[in-house]
């Protein structure tokens, strides 16, 4: 009975320490997307480079593709951009940009200046499509499979590590 006096607080402390240690490894800003495994929401938007043409995800049926939410005002997008430009040179999958709450001139200028990794960019001036995709900050990147189902979501910049360790193996398994 006496030894319990020491064991009980020790066990309680150990449990607390384990919970806190696990908590430290998690990023509270990363909210798991409920979209994984669900069909990508349909939309129809003007293209950034040509407002007379539209884009809708149905056009990508039968292809594995990536949807990258970006904006000229977005600082982290600048960080991510060279990674995407480099990746696009491999021609692994088409990357579709979603220019989020931007001005058309600013978006075009940004791409002209830093390079354009996108096969095309859709222009989401009001951010309504982004909300439909559960976007809460740029950049965010979705990997969408041949059936139009969202398979992965990268919140924040696509880093070379995320690309090599998560996205590329996934693309391979999806038959890209």
């Amino acid at each position: 009975m006496k030894s319990l006096r020491f064991v009980v607080p020790l066990v309680v402390f150990a449990a607390l320490a384990i919970f806190l240690a696990v908590g430290l490894t998690r990023d509270p800003r990363e909210i798991p997307s409920p979209f994984i495994g669900k069909p990508a929401p349909a939309f129809k938007l003007e293209r950034l480079h040509d407002s007379s043409q539209s884009f809708s995800p149905q056009e990508m049926k039968g292809k594995v593709w990536m949807l990258n939410v970006w904006a000229s005002w977005c600082v982290s997008c600048r960080v991510e951009h060279p990674v995407l430009v480099e990746f696009s040179k491999r021609n692994a999958v088409p990357i579709v940009g979603l220019d989020y709450k931007d001005k058309r001139e600013d978006g075009l200028q940004w791409l002209a200046r830093f390079g354009n990794p996108y096969s095309l960019s859709a222009f989401d001036a009001e951010g309504r499509v982004a909300i439909d995709y559960g976007v809460y900050g740029a950049p965010e990147t979705f990997v969408i499979d041949k059936e139009g189902v969202i398979r992965y979501k990268q919140i924040g910049p696509v880093t070379p590590e995320a690309l090599e360790e998560k996205i590329l193996p996934l693309l391979k398994s999806l038959g890209a």
Binding site: P28, I31, P34, I131, G134
Partner: protein, 149 residues
């Protein structure tokens, strides 16, 4: 006095500035929006509701809710729309399901445990103390004679 009036006008201006988030607010829609927005978490400024937050995303989400209200959607439908996009995390009042049982029951379980421990401790202390050493208790006359000295 004039200064006070000016100050009041300034404060009133601020208040109006907040109210005129859209051009012609409909009081019925705004009331429903407020009730809903106060239960939804702002994703970029966590620990604030989308009613409180000035973040651009919170404004967009408020406008989205306004539009859905004017389309005649029910509160539950709008909540479901948000959960489908951002997960249960957007709800300040999380639903009752397997993954949230600990969240809902945990505090009460801890409270019950605390009460149980307290009860056991109190009972143990209330148990009659063992007889003090020293054998016989002094009789009343003995005590009185001692007190007289």
């Amino acid at each position: 006095m004039r200064r006070l009036a000016l100050a009041l006008m300034f404060v009133a201006g601020l208040a109006f500035g907040q109210a005129s988030e859209i051009a012609h607010p409909d009081p019925v829609v705004e009331a429903r929006l407020k009730a809903l927005a106060e239960e939804l978490r702002c994703l970029v400024c966590q620990n604030q509701t989308i009613a409180d937050s000035n973040a651009a995303l919170a404004l967009d989400l408020r406008n989205e809710i306004r539009e859905q209200i004017s389309q005649g959607k029910s509160d539950d439908e709008i909540r479901a729309y948000m959960v489908a996009r951002y997960g249960d995390f957007v709800l300040y009042r999380p639903p009752w399901k397997a993954t949230t049982v600990l969240l809902w029951v945990g505090p009460f379980a801890l409270l019950a445990l605390g009460i149980a421990i307290l009860y056991m401790n109190v009972r143990r202390r209330r148990a009659p103390a063992p007889e003090a050493p020293g054998g016989e208790r002094p009789s009343r006359t003995e005590v009185e004679s001692l007190l007289k000295d």
